[in-house]
């Protein structure tokens, strides 16, 4: 699903949208699987539209489903730092900026992660991936 900036009706209660957004951002602190979607809907805080609110409702439905999930750090796991990096070149149709994501795990659980739209525009996929590799350091 692609969200655009100017399509459909505006949400009348912007404050509500921003309030839910704040709570969602708070939830990403302990739930890495929410980072990307929350980052997506948070880009439309100034003038939220009905489609954005629908997307947000979908996230809330998902959260209800995963309420009992949490990162589990196993006591007997091998303590090795291991990282995964990925980049998305032009998936964002609004400004074509690259989205980079990374995670570092220590033992069995995830300890550090991020999903971020970068300020620069990359000219190729390799460049996008290369930039995100540096950004994660």
């Amino acid at each position: 699903m692609k969200l655009s900036a100017d399509e459909g009706d505006h949400v009348e209660d912007t404050t509500m949208y921003i309030c839910i957004m704040g709570s969602l951002i708070y939830m990403t602190i302990t739930r890495p699987n929410l980072s990307y979607v929350v980052g997506m809907v948070s880009q439309f805080m100034q003038t939220p539209q009905k489609t954005h609110l629908d997307a947000m409702r979908r996230i809330l439905k998902y959260i209800k489903h995963i309420l009992k999930c949490g990162i589990f750090y196993e006591a007997k796991s091998q303590l090795q730092v291991c990282g995964y990096i990925d980049a998305d070149w032009v998936d964002n149709v609004l400004d074509r900026r690259l989205t980079s994501g990374f995670m570092f795990s220590f033992g069995s659980g995830d300890v550090n992660w991020s999903s971020k739209k970068q300020p620069t525009i990359a000219l190729s996929n390799t460049e996008a991936e290369y930039r995100s590799a540096t950004c994660c350091m």
Binding site: P32, E127, E129, R131, A133
Partner: protein, 97 residues
């Protein structure tokens, strides 16, 4: 340095670029500070390893995934469903794993 960090990547050309410090016409414009990772690879602090897209966990941070992939990656993160509340002592939480 022996204790290096292993980083998994799904882009082969990138690993080659980071491992091989040769300037290429198409990488010329990448700003100098972005070559930081190359420096770290050379000093062997970081070890870049290729990983198949199927196992690229970081995909979850950059694109919308299918339900199957989302569930699988979630598990690989260490995000598990625990029957009881996450609050509790060590004995309780280890028995639910």
């Amino acid at each position: 340095m022996d204790a290096h960090v292993v980083i998994y990547y799904d882009n082969i050309s990138n690993i080659l670029l980071a491992n091989n410090p040769v300037y290429h016409a198409r990488t010329k414009h990448i700003e100098v500070h972005y070559h930081f990772i190359r420096e770290k690879v050379l000093t062997r602090e970081i070890n870049l390893i290729h990983v198949n897209t199927k196992n690229q966990v970081a995909d979850i941070f950059t694109k919308a995934l299918s339900t199957d992939k989302l569930k699988r990656f979630r598990k690989m993160f260490g995000v598990l469903e625990v029957d009881s509340s996450l609050k509790g002592n060590v004995e309780n939480s280890s028995s639910t794993s």
